[in-house]
Symmetry: C2
Subunit: 154 residues, 2 copies
DNA sequence: GGATATTGCTCAGTATGCTGACTATCAGTA
DNA sequence: TACTGATAGTCAGCATACTGAGCAATATCC
């Protein structure tokens, strides 16, 4: 068997593990209780008011069955609202609340700090290169997961 | 807010998501039902017969509370055994079974294939560079997660 | 030797993520 | 319009991961 350090899958798991831990720690230090997934969902709702859950899922590459619970928790925290759509009675329209907007604003420095910390072992140039290579690998593998990224075609 | 494509945390999640999907698909194609985590645990048990759960967790950077369930499932599938240690009655010694050894041997091509597929968008040189950068970032962030990698000091 | 701290493991609870199934609704078409 | 297929969302079930608590056993220190 190859060394774990030469298995991209193992390295992916470790890096993700650290990224989540850093995010939660920074956000907790700032006095908030929001997971990376909840943050991404909330930021995307703010940027695309009134979008439905499937579109949201496509924009951040979540599985549609995962979204349900994430939104549940955002709603329960009073950060987002879920309304029946008038155009399509199957769909729900998502909106950010004032409280959600305030939270996003206050939490941004912690989120940015977390992104820096998870790259702290790399030079700025290396960090850019890591992100470029991840983007390239992800683009090639996008369709291989159940929840591929879906750009909105308007 | 920054674009998701410039957030290392988001890229980490996406890459990990694809890596797991590819691993499961390749292993299923080969006729097996083993998760990445179960595979890593089993391979590590084989390489370190008789090790206890905490040591195993340290070698592959799992949380100790996660290990319990993983071993449960390996034992239930008949791939590993959990025995009380004679030296320390709190600890359990882990051993791979013949069935586990057979499974590992047969599954190896699928695992290697998965590692190639998750890097298929990159050149060989880029793949190496991605792994180098991930290793470097992980080394710097190792202590930031609850389950840091612990090399065995013999 | 005995109090104290530490360690190995487990468990309860919570949050992703997935598979697969189901309901309600919508869209296209014969 | 009735049929068919696709779509939006939810749910049950399973497998990571984590926090925090607890139990039993071991190590340490006085």
């Amino acid at each position: 068997m190859k060394d774990n350090n030469h298995m991209p899958g193992h390295l992916a798991r470790r890096f993700q593990q650290i990224a989540v831990a850093v995010f939660l720690a920074e956000v907790a230090d700032a006095g908030f209780d929001l997971t990376p997934v909840q943050y991404a969902a909330l930021a995307t709702i703010k940027a695309n008011p009134g979008l439905d859950q499937v579109t949201l899922a496509g924009l951040i590459a979540y599985d549609r069955t995962t979204i349900t619970g994430v939104i549940d928790r955002l709603v329960q925290k009073g950060l987002a609202e879920r309304r029946p759509s008038s155009r399509d009675r199957r769909a729900r329209e998502l909106e950010i609340t004032d409280e959600g907007r305030r939270t996003l604003r206050k939490i941004t420095p912690a989120v940015e700090s977390a992104q820096r910390i998870m790259l702290r072992g790399l030079t700025a140039k290396e960090g850019e290169e890591l992100m470029r290579l991840l983007r390239k690998a992800i683009a090639a593998g996008n369709e291989l997961s159940r929840a591929p990224l879906r750009d909105v075609e308007v």
